[in-house]
């Protein structure tokens, strides 16, 4: 038997840690259906009723409704823009042999060394200078830039595997460069596109500090990650409402994760390997 006695400690430790991960989430989930008194009195018991009162409160007191819409808008548009920029760029780099292509690829991959965090204030200045300060528009334009290095590098890897003969055949039929991109390269590197969509979906949806500083507190513009922490102070910390709000922001990510678990883990490994 492969997992004999000596593995007992490993089993126990691994599951203990898993419990440590799940316990706060369980607490989060059940607290979302409780009042403060119930949360403190019996933190781990199942809720007595599954009323959606806390969710409603969270929605109205932190304006979570518009915030979710804003998050969806920012995430979807930024993802579209990322693809619009990265696919042609990767296509160009993958087809250009010699120094130039390699140089451009190098420029992009050096982006991994740019610590976006220290650049928060200059980015803020840039937002102010372009007149897009306190708008989600700026985030839609900005987020794809942060995603460029990873997205381009991953897509180039995929596109390099496409045989040149495919393109030559299409060329003989008179296909333009754009048609080659559209009808050959894009369909053939769908797995790569899926990978960068998933990776960037996680980053964009969860982005916090830049959104906080640049979009600011306006409920019509702010994203859900910025709206959520306001529940802490606004409600004199009603933990039921706070946890209900947190659960709401987790739902989209959780759904995507559960459906695409395998692919998503593979995507993250790809992302790390290509660094």
């Amino acid at each position: 038997m492969k997992f004999g006695r000596s593995w007992l400690a490993a089993h126990v430790l691994a599951w203990l840690y898993a419990a440590l991960l799940v316990a706060p989430l369980y607490y989060l989930l059940v607290s979302a259906f409780k009042t403060n008194d119930q949360i403190f009195g019996s933190p781990f018991s199942l809720p007595t009723s599954f009323s959606l009162h806390n969710f409603g409160e969270a929605f109205s007191s932190a304006d979570l409704g518009p915030a979710i819409v804003n998050s969806v808008i920012v995430t979807v548009l930024a993802l579209a823009l990322t693809l619009g920029l990265a696919i042609p760029a990767a296509f160009a780099i993958a087809r250009t042999e010699g120094r130039l292509g390699a140089f451009v690829e190098r420029v992009f991959s050096l982006g991994f060394l740019v610590p976006t965090f220290a650049a928060l204030f200059p980015t803020f200045l840039l937002a102010a200078a372009t007149g897009l300060f306190h708008t989600r528009t700026f985030m839609v334009l900005f987020l794809p830039a942060t995603a460029m290095p990873l997205s381009v590098v991953i897509l180039v890897q995929f596109m390099r595997t496409i045989p040149h003969e495919m393109e030559e055949a299409a060329r003989l039929d008179g296909a333009s460069t754009f048609a080659v991109l559209r009808h050959i390269y894009t369909p053939m590197c769908m797995p790569g596109i899926a990978t960068i969509l998933l990776l960037n979906f996680l980053t964009f949806w969860n982005e916090y500090l830049y959104s906080l500083v640049i979009i600011g507190p306006d409920p019509d513009q702010r994203t859900v990650q910025v709206a959520l922490p306001t529940l802490k102070s606004l409600t004199g910390t009603d933990y039921g409402i706070l946890t209900a709000g947190t659960v709401l922001t987790l739902v989209p990510v959780w759904v995507v994760y559960t459906v695409l678990q395998k692919r998503m883990q593979q995507a993250l490994v790809n992302g790390a390997v290509k660094m």
Partner: protein, 312 residues
């Protein structure tokens, strides 16, 4: 999975073939580079531009957004290096990295190895371990806030089991605030990193572990002496990532949970950049710390790369 079947047909039959000589050398190697220009411009404007600006602002005396700006040269460097708060935050960041990084990487590697051996229930375990990777920083911070606040889960639990004397205002006490932040990093970091390691270990050829078993190597030996060297460079890359996330990302947790306090007991370097820019409005100071942060990040990356360089 690929939409390969739909690819070749689509581009055909656009117009009749031009009457040019048939074996015309394809011009596909040229003309395409221009397609990289939009992405490049985007990247230069939003990523490289701000990075360069950090270095420019660092030599300016700029006491607030609407105040007059003057050239300060190395004056900011002197101010920063004379400031005890800066040295506090250097110490805090060092503590954070020295504790969090080794604990995270070592535990995650062992856990990842365990999962990759496919013990009973490994699928469930994999699913659970990845959860912290999905949760946004504010949501994680809110969970920890609920657990660690004076009337939160941890104190309640301690009271229940009769250890009421150990209860503390965890996030508001100078001796524990920083360690709470480190615990938050480690808590989520181990699981997420373990999944990465497990996925990478999955692709290590089976022959390697079979050979190890034939040699009578115990699991401890197989884990560190046989598998570790194989994925050494991957461990290096993941360590780099975690190093950067911890170094730069700590600002968010600090902001959400302790605001750097009490005093400066939980102020990290990256939070200092934020605080000086957006709360204290001392922009030259802030960006000087930003330069320090950038250099620390660069030096750390190069060091980690050297340590984990493949050496067989």
């Amino acid at each position: 999975m690929t939409l390969l079947s739909s690819a070749p047909g689509g581009a055909s039959v656009r117009r009749p073939a031009p009457p040019s000589p048939p074996p015309a050398p394809p011009r596909r190697k040229q003309g395409g580079v221009i397609l990289a220009v939009p992405a490049l411009v985007w990247y230069l404007v939003f990523m490289v531009g701000p990075l360069v600006a950090i270095f420019v602002i660092a030599v300016l005396h700029w006491p607030g957004m609407l105040q007059p700006v003057s050239f300060a040269g190395l004056g900011n460097v002197r101010t920063v290096f004379d400031d005890p708060v800066f040295w506090d935050s250097v110490g805090n960041t060092a503590t954070q990295l020295v504790i969090a990084l080794p604990v995270m990487i070592v535990c995650a590697y062992m856990l990842g190895y365990y999962v990759a051996q496919k013990p009973p229930g490994h699928r469930v375990l994999r699913y659970l371990l990845f959860i912290p990777g999905l949760i946004s920083t504010p949501a994680k911070a809110m969970v920890f806030y609920a657990v660690l606040s004076p009337d939160g889960l941890l104190n309640g639990g301690l009271d229940k089991v009769g250890l009421g004397s150990l209860t503390d205002a965890w996030l508001a006490s100078p001796s524990t605030a920083l360690y709470c932040l480190i615990a938050l990093d480690v808590w989520g970091g181990i699981g997420f990193t373990a999944v990465l390691f497990a996925a990478r270990l999955d692709s290590v050829p089976d022959e390697i572990s079979e050979a190890a078993q034939l040699d009578g190597a115990g699991h401890w030996r197989a884990m560190w002496r046989i598998h570790f060297p194989v994925i050494r460079d991957f461990v290096g890359v993941v360590t780099m990532l975690q190093f950067l996330w911890t170094l730069f990302g700590s600002a968010q947790n600090v902001l959400l949970l302790t605001q750097g306090g009490p005093g400066s007991s939980s102020t990290t370097l990256s939070f200092l950049v934020y605080q000086k820019a957006f709360i204290a409005a001392d922009l030259g100071y802030s960006q000087t710390v930003g330069v320090v942060l950038f250099l620390v990040g660069l030096a750390g990356l190069l060091t980690i790369r050297r340590v984990f360089r493949q050496n067989y």
